[in-house]
Amino acid sequence: MTENAVLEMHHIDKVFPGVKALQNVDFTLREGEIHALMGENGAGKSTLIKVLTGVYAKDGGEIYLKGHEGPISIRSPQDAQKAGISTVYQEITLCPNLTVAENMFIGRSQKATLNWGQMNRETNKILESLDIPARANMQLSGCSIAVQQMIAIARAVDMECKVLILDEPTSSLDDNEVEKLFGLMRNLKAKGVGIIFVTHFLDQVYEVSDRITVLRDGKLVGEYEIENLPRIKLVSKMLGKEMNDLSAIKEAAGEETAAKDQVPLFEAEGLQSNTGIRPFDFHINKGEVNGFTGLLGSGRSECVRAIFGADRVVAGTVKKNGKPIKIRKPIDAMKQGIGYLPEDRKADGIIGDLSVRENIILASQVLKGFFKPYKKAEQYKLAKEYIDMLFVKTADEDTPIGSLSGGNQQKVIVARWLLTHPEYLILDEPTRGIDIGTKTDIQKLVLKLASEGMGVTFISSETDEMLRTCSRLIVMRDLKKVGELSGKDLNQSKIMSTIAGGESE
């Protein structure tokens, strides 16, 4: 083992049916360091962590841990715990109605009886040593989320842990609480604990980490000292695009839209929802395709959800065709001619057990009204029309949508919104997890709809797709709108430098 290393993972492979989730990944964690594990969706971060914590069995490679001879085998989370690998997840997995001390000791005492006094004293000692503002006899639910998070960490650390994994620990904390958490992390670092820090907030990575390991598509991109990896390079490594890769600029469409008269269709000012995004301004013109870009968790989806009224809007004004309107829930947006294809197709899009026909007519039916159901014959006619138009592969109109492939399900949801004849259509990740052919179909459709005068907001994790379809991009970082790019600025390197921010500011 390398000097100072507490954990080494060599040539880790993990295969799921049809996907190589991890290929030959190496990872080294040193004593007393905070090591950020970075990567976009599907890069393999969580798979690597699950292999390390025994949730998944690895298909190849070795794991070495300080103090153990030779490679160790971790077959279950209990094994990992015993070997000194502790994990604290995004959601707090403690019992809110027990006291802090009970939470610290639950499931750890082998004895039938407990010495409550001793337990409380020990807990207070640990809390003090880590500067956690809580007392042993407080009920956990009486503590703030940040303190609960810290107690979860304290519990993990107290179990003689050498490796602490923090999986998105900050996503439900405010700035102040994040600062406190970082204090605790630095404290632990000084005590020699190796911390693996998984987050999607770039600022936070640069604030506390010593090293960064980047994964992409299940492969190791590299391990870097934080000083040697400026933000822009980190973003380009995560996205897998070189800085000066200008090959994918959209040529024709970009110039064309710039010349057109721009009639604003929908405008928002200072819009903010209860999801933590900062107030943002937004507008879209008739016949325009724009998009939100940014890393995973940067607030892309939250923005469009605020526009559609899917989340609770807490501030801001919106206008359509120059007239102020109010959107408080999805039906308000639908009545204004807005359609929204949600990011999570399974949870928010399809009505699984209902037929393709019913899924297609649903939104339009809701707009039409409770006492005006579509006649059966009309339902079949409309469903067939859109199935043919979008080339949906389905046995017939009565097939349950749940039995269709992902791409075809997505087309059905697109059909649902097209049937409402929207003036403004929001497509959040319409191309995720679907085959190349369908992806191209959807992109072509977006451009066709825009040419007919519809405004379309298109979101995709793949920057290439956005460059091909959008004439204006709103860039998000850490739940904030940080820039708007159009015309000549619309290229990979400019997008990446805006996403990365930091140095340029």
Binding site: A310, P330, I331, I351, D353, L354, Q365, F370, F371, R416
Partner: protein
């Protein structure tokens, strides 16, 4: 993705129909007199049809009416209302309170029956809304939420009439649970038929069915399609409340009085069973109204058959429990997956065999 034919087995009506057929075959072999229908005259000299089949149609009415509401509640909320029996006690008590006024034994009705019925509808709908709000707004499990009314309902019913047992002497009140002179078929059957017709028209000429199913299957997606899941869930409980009021009218009319602790006892379990027997998932989502209604009559047929073979009414629930166990176990996801795996294995083996 290939459909394996729209055969009888795929049809949701298959389960209740098969159960009904089994019951009928059993009766046919055990004692064919089960099917005898005779025309006689009652003490008032009016013609009346009698026989076990008529009994099933008569006494299955309340259950069929409740099955309508219970189906909607199940589909929309993914849970069941267990306060139905207690709610019938309340609605029945309200009817008697309005008809009798303060004097429990009046010689004349103090208000028209229709007024009493409408007040009962209002009260039952309000209690339905109460359950619905607990479930939809406060997100309490339906069975737990309705446990409140289940526990309190019969005392509320007694309280409405100061714990007295009013008796309606007017013979016209007896029509709803008995016979109209000259027509030999029991009136409850016609009331149930009317309710079935109404729900048929509602499902045909409104989008209730689509909305209820959408909310029951995927609440989040339903909301993003402009639906208000909270309202639709409450609405389903209110509709069940209206069904309760109709059932209460029949129940009180049958006796012309009320027994707070016995009226419609355990009827909620039969109503839930009717929904399950109709092949509807008790976890909500898609539903088939006709299968539930048929299921209600199948349960009544089972009850009547058991009575005919002199099973004590105390022992009845035990027999029904056997049916419930079989149904629930068969529809449990783990069992269904197991069956699916076994049949799949069988199919692949067959295919391999063919390939060789």
């Amino acid at each position: 993705m290939k459909k394996s034919g729209t055969g009888l087995f795929r049809n949701q009506l298959f389960i209740p129909l098969a159960a009904l057929l089994l019951l009928m075959i059993f009766n046919l072999i055990a004692d064919p007199s089960f099917f005898k229908i005779s025309l006689g005259y009652n003490s008032a000299g009016n013609p009346v049809l009698s026989g076990y089949l008529i009994t099933i149609l008569d006494y299955g009415s309340e259950l069929a009416i409740l099955a309508i509401g219970m189906t909607l509640v199940t589909a929309a909320s993914g849970g069941q209302d267990i306060s139905v029996g207690a709610a019938i006690a309340i609605a029945g008590s309200v009817i008697l309170r309005v008809l009798c006024g303060t004097n429990p034994r009046p010689d004349k009705m103090q208000a028209p029956i229709i007024v009493a019925f409408l007040v009962a509808c209002l009260v039952a709908a309000l209690f339905g809304a109460f359950n619905g709000i607990l479930v939809a707004v406060f997100r309490i499990q339906p069975m737990v939420a309705t446990l409140i009314l289940y526990t309190a309902g019969r005392s509320i019913a007694a309280w409405i009439n100061n714990n007295q047992l009013p008796i309606v002497k007017d013979p016209s009140f007896k029509y709803f649970g008995g016979l109209i002179p000259g027509i030999p078929i029991p009136v409850p059957f016609f009331i149930a038929a009317l309710c079935v017709l109404i729900i048929f028209l509602v499902l045909r000429f409104t989008t209730l069915g689509l909305y209820v199913q959408a909310v029951g299957i995927n609440e989040r997606a339903a909301r993003l399609n402009g639906l208000n899941p909270v309202f639709i869930k409450i609405l389903s409980f209110v509709i069940l409340g209206l069904c309760v009021a109709v059932a209460a009218l029949i129940k009180t009319s049958r006796l012309s009085t009320i027994n707070y602790s016995v009226i419609a006892k355990d009827i909620e379990m039969d109503a839930i069973l009717a929904v399950a027997l109709g092949g509807n998932a008790l976890s909500g989502g898609k539903f088939n109204m006709w299968a539930s209604i048929l299921g209600a009559y199948v349960i009544q047929a089972l009850t009547t058959t058991l009575f005919k073979f002199n099973v004590q009414s105390d022992a009845l629930p035990a027999y029904k429990a056997v049916v419930v166990i079989i149904l629930v176990v068969l529809s449990a996801p783990t069992v269904r997956n197991k069956i699916y795996e076994v049949t799949k294995k069988f199919r692949t083996r067959k295919q391999e065999g063919e390939a060789v």
